[in-house]
Amino acid sequence: MRTEGQTLYAADVTGVSSLGKFYVEHERGLIGTGAVLTFLLAWEAVTRSRLVDPLFLSSPTLIVRAGYELFAEGTIWRDLRVSGTEFVVGYLMAAGVAIPLGLALGWYRRLYFCLGPFIDVLNAVPRVALLPVIIIWFGIGVWSKIVVVFLGAVIPMLINTFSGVKTTEERFLKVARSFGASELKIFWTIVFPGTVPFIFTGLKYAAGRALLGVVVGELYAATAGIGFLITVSGATFQTDKVFVGILIVTTTGVLVVELLDRLERRFEGWRPKVGSAT
């Protein structure tokens, strides 16, 4: 049955042209690229044909041109530097606090009893609503945004890390105790490896929250940054520039998640691959 299917498949591939073979091998990428291209062409067509005013919707070519101009003028570098600093510093500070603290909260029950209420409240409060006071405390410079980014990112990282520790499997703890492992050994060989996937989930989710913090923080009060660029351009009906800003933020988010995915794969060789291929 199985060999029959394989020969059939082989016959299919050899029977068609090399172009067909290329398609079979790259089906996923081709369909994805095709869909995106179609979307961009349709967008371009809708504005070119004046079905919709380009001032309203912009268009892929207009966005590319606006992007080119922004980089050529050079003012955007400052925005990138400011937003980049806010994102990187806030995000790394959040990771530096959330991962150790999440591990500790999961491991020491009483520490959780003590800090749990604060975390629950911080999780429930919309971080954006804190912006006015954050600006009062930290000014309209980089630091107020770093704090917003930090507050946005720290919670998902913390909660995920904590859950990771909590889902440590009893049977592995029993194995470790049976071999006379010390508490420290149990932590590093049983609890931590099981928590790693949760930490990555938290880091990935937090990347989105951190970018949100950058943009919203700069929308509210700033003198530079990509969020600032978006606000100013929007207020002056420069839709093309707004989209350039959005594109930069989106690309950053995708790149950060991709980077984390790659890093995670290096840790996760022990995990069976799950999921359907089609």
């Binding site: 006379g180 060989t189 490896p193 022990w270 995990r271």
Partner: protein
């Protein structure tokens, strides 16, 4: 032959938070195992076999009574005993070699001598060539071989085996039983083996201990006077079948009692030692 392992009047009671009652799991268990003896415990499910093994390993403290090893009281896990756990207890983030090394690491044994010892036992259980495979890449039988190697490498005096073959298919199980006997002969260990399969217990053991239904008590000790080495074919021997019949009759009443007890308490109390109570 001197007595290797002795259980003296072991009682274990635990508190059930849900019902607020105290439950007697083990009732006055007296047991003496000779040096180099292979002893199995059989009994209806929920009779406390595994709980008793956990007490012997030192993972669970007995409410009263004591465990003696070579005449000395033991209260916590030690290098003199090693447990072969039920299925899926290998650490999934460690390779076969990493798992076998685990106990040695816990005892702070240096890497180089540890690796040599690990390699020796990996070969003894027939896993050479699979040292760098992760558990998910192994069949159930191979996983249990690794599990056995992980315990043997500690060079324990007593091997505690908690239904190690329960999750294996019938054929693999038979082969593993025969191999276990060969390894036992080579390694010259005292073995305390838990199973619910009567013919497995008889085939492997010098003595089969039958437990009563909850609370677990020693109902009878049955000496298995079948000469060794034993081929798998011995299971079809009239003498073997007679013993099987005899042990089954001892257990049958207990199983019926368990079923009646279950029926009367269905929905109100879930009985059975909490595996998490370690």
């Amino acid at each position: 032959m001197p007595v290797k392992l002795e259980a003296q009047r072991i009682c274990l009671e635990y508190y059930q938070p849900r019902t607020g009652r105290r439950l007697l799991a083990l009732d006055d268990i007296d047991l003496a195992i000779m040096d180099g003896e292979f002893v199995s415990i059989v009994g209806p499910s929920g009779c406390g076999k595994t709980t008793f093994l956990n007490v012997v390993d030192g993972l669970l403290p007995a409410t009263s009574g004591r465990i003696l090893l070579d005449g000395k009281v033991v209260t916590e896990p030690g290098q003199d005993r090693a447990m072969v756990f039920q299925d899926a207890s290998l650490l999934p983030w460690r390779t076969v070699l990493g798992n076998v090394l685990y106990g040695l690491e816990c005892q702070g044994i240096g890497t180089r001598p540890a690796r040599q010892r690990a390699q020796h036992f990996i070969e003894m259980v027939g896993l050479q060539g699979f040292e760098h495979h992760y558990p998910y890449e192994l069949s159930g039988g191979m996983q249990q071989r690794a599990n056995l190697a992980r315990a043997l490498v500690m060079d324990p005096q007593v091997l505690l085996m908690d239904e190690p073959f329960a999750a294996l298919d019938a054929q693999t199980r038979e082969v593993m039983q025969e191999e276990l006997l060969q390894i036992w002969r080579q390694a010259k260990k005292t073995v305390l083996f838990i199973t619910h399969q009567i013919n497995e217990a008889i085939y492997l053991s010098d003595r089969v201990i039958v437990f009563t239904t909850r609370p677990g008590r020693v109902k009878q000790s049955v000496t298995i006077d079948i000469e060794r080495p034993r081929k798998l074919a011995v299971k079809r021997d009239p003498r073997f079948l007679q013993l099987e019949d005899f042990v089954w009759n001892l257990i049958e009443d207990e199983v019926r009692k368990t079923m009646l007890a279950d029926r009367s308490s269905r929905g109100s109390a879930e009985v059975g030692p909490p595996d998490s109570g370690v």
